[in-house]
């Protein structure tokens, strides 16, 4: 797996277009939010910015890039080639997906460090780390599932749109309307529980219902992994 991870990181850097999409654009967007923060209560600003940064950067850096990478590897028959050896399917998938996750985690660490220095520091760092890991996990699951219905890297620009906008839309809904009304629905939808969790981790707040924020995201990741197992293709459809 290590050799696959190293190769993927090498390719990520060598391909200018992929490097821009996976590294520069998410970082750029994260930085933009620091210097042009969205509206809302000033005491909630840090949490709001962190939520948007984490969700958008992981959505772009892991979900879109991961789906595109898997589709590209399939289209070029590299998946089939990798499957000709002794490595298991799990090892191959992990080796292809972990590099984008690693890059994403590093990007988020850098951006949140800058946010902490320029705005407010997170109240509950361990909970924030958990929230970031859950976000990564959920979007990895989504990438694997979406790759199953994505025929090519170009097609990924279309197939990733629905979930991308759904997750961000739900996150915005939670951030700007709270969870007093329809809280169960907002938390159950993908991105809703995460948005609230990141907000609580950054701004502080009631930790009594943290489990109800974590469970839906884990459930979405598990559901996505289930669909990935049934829908994922290792070769182009003939």
């Amino acid at each position: 797996m290590l050799s696959l991870i190293q190769s993927e990181l090498r390719m990520l850097v060598r391909n200018r277009l992929v490097a821009v999409c996976a590294i520069l654009i998410p970082l750029g967007f994260g930085a933009f939010l620091i210097f042009s923060p969205p509206g809302g209560p000033a005491d909630q600003a840090g949490g709001t910015i962190a939520t948007l940064q984490i969700l958008i950067m992981v959505a772009m850096g892991v979900y879109v890039t991961g789906t595109t990478t898997l589709a590209a590897r399939r289209q070029t028959l590299m998946l089939k080639r990798l499957r000709s050896g002794a490595a298991s399917d799990t090892t191959i998938i992990a080796g292809l997906v972990l590099p984008v996750v690693i890059v994403s985690v590093v990007q988020i660490a850098v951006i949140l460090a800058i946010l902490s220095a320029t705005s407010s520091a997170p109240e509950n760092a361990p909970l924030l780390i958990l929230a970031v890991l859950l976000t990564e996990l959920m979007f990895v699951g989504f990438a694997l599932a979406t790759a199953g219905v994505t025929n090519s890297p170009e097609h990924a620009q279309v197939t990733t749109l629905p979930l991308f906008f759904l997750v961000l839309g739900v996150a915005f809904w939670v951030m700007f309307t709270g969870t007093e009304e329809l809280g169960w629905l907002k938390r159950a939808l993908p991105g809703g529980g995460l948005a609230e969790l990141i907000g609580v981790a950054w701004n502080g707040g009631d930790l009594s219902n943290v489990v109800s924020l974590i469970v839906p995201s884990v459930a979405w990741a598990v559901l996505a992994a289930y669909f990935a197992r049934t829908m994922f293709r290792w070769e182009p459809r003939s």
């Binding site: 050799s3 390719m11 002794a86």
Partner: protein
């Protein structure tokens, strides 16, 4: 047919142990299995053998090969490799090298990086520079795969397959896209591997390669194994041909079976006897036999008969 490569011959009825065996292997494509690409195929490949699987386009050769390799699950029937299931990657794949019909490498990795990546996943150890030297790609060591020619990629593919000298090697149309020199070099490496005991199963469209190198040949047509055996066994039922421009106004000693561009052809299962008869007749009668040819039956004849059936 003599084996011009001085390769170890495997007795067709031989006692070599079986490495690969399929019994009534079938493979269906389509959501409901509408198209049967391989039908009840049973073959056995023995240790040290070079088995060539030939056939028309769409005959099911690659599907068969990929099912034996473990890339596909058979729709019915059984496949065993080294006595186990080919899908057992940890147990079986380290003993297998696979060269797919089409290369599948990342364009942004160079040749040596690609070999090291594929090699690290093979379950065997080797040295990338040694492999590059064997496939004559030393000069392209640091060239990205995207900049290699089709033939160079094919050689890289072959290098990946022979990494770590596998016990069993699958080659799916290995010389397609290679120039004659590269083809000869590939077969030289294959000969070396055979001398080291590697068993080889290959598909090819070049009949002369199968004639020259294979111990046994299987001929597929429309998903079925139409015939199988050594080259001698396959051509035994196919007649030889004598061709000549027949002198006019004389009765020939042999029946003419066909004529083309004024050349008459006689088919015969006794080439030496009938040719002698014809030459004696011509000598005695003072007849001239222009454009005289005598051709033994070949794999090409067998293949053409198969495709006409």
């Amino acid at each position: 047919m003599t084996n011009t490569q001085n390769l170890p011959l495997v007795d067709a009825a031989g006692t070599g142990d079986t490495i690969v065996e399929t019994q009534d292997l079938s493979y269906n494509y389509g959501a409901h299995g509408e198209f049967q690409a391989v039908k009840n195929l049973s073959i056995r490949v023995r240790r040290g053998e070079l088995y060539a699987l030939l056939g028309t386009n769409g005959a099911g050769k690659t599907t068969t090969l990929e099912t034996i390799e473990g890339h596909r699950q058979a729709s019915s029937g059984t496949v065993t490799v080294f006595g186990g299931k080919p899908t057992d990657r940890q147990g079986i794949r380290p003993r297998m090298g696979i060269m797919l019909q089409e290369t599948g490498y990342a364009a942004d990795l160079n040749a040596v990086e690609t070999l090291r990546l594929v090699g690290s996943l093979s379950g065997r150890t080797d040295d990338a520079d040694r492999i590059l030297e064997r496939v004559d790609l030393v000069a392209k060591r640091d060239t990205r795969v995207g900049q290699l020619s089709g033939g160079e990629r094919r050689r890289l593919d072959f290098g990946s397959a022979i990494w770590g000298t596998p016990e069993l090697l699958f080659l799916d149309e290995p010389t397609t896209g290679l120039d004659p020199t590269a083809r000869e070099r590939l077969w030289s490496v294959v000969s070396d591997l055979r001398a080291e005991g590697t068993t080889i199963i290959l598909t090819t469209h070049y009949l002369e390669e199968a004639e020259r190198y294979a111990d046994r040949i299987g001929l597929m047509h429309q998903g079925v194994l139409a015939s199988e055996g050594t080259l001698a066994e396959l051509v035994a039922d196919h007649p030889a041909r004598i061709g000549f421009v027949a002198p006019t106004g004389v009765e020939l000693p042999l029946p003419v079976t066909s004529t083309s561009n004024a050349v008459s052809f006689v088919t015969t299962h006794d080439l030496q006897g009938d040719l002698t008869r014809l030459l004696v007749w011509a000598e005695r009668g003072g007849h001239t036999l222009d454009q005289l040819t005598a051709t033994s039956s070949s794999l090409d004849d067998v293949f053409r008969t198969l495709t006409r059936s």
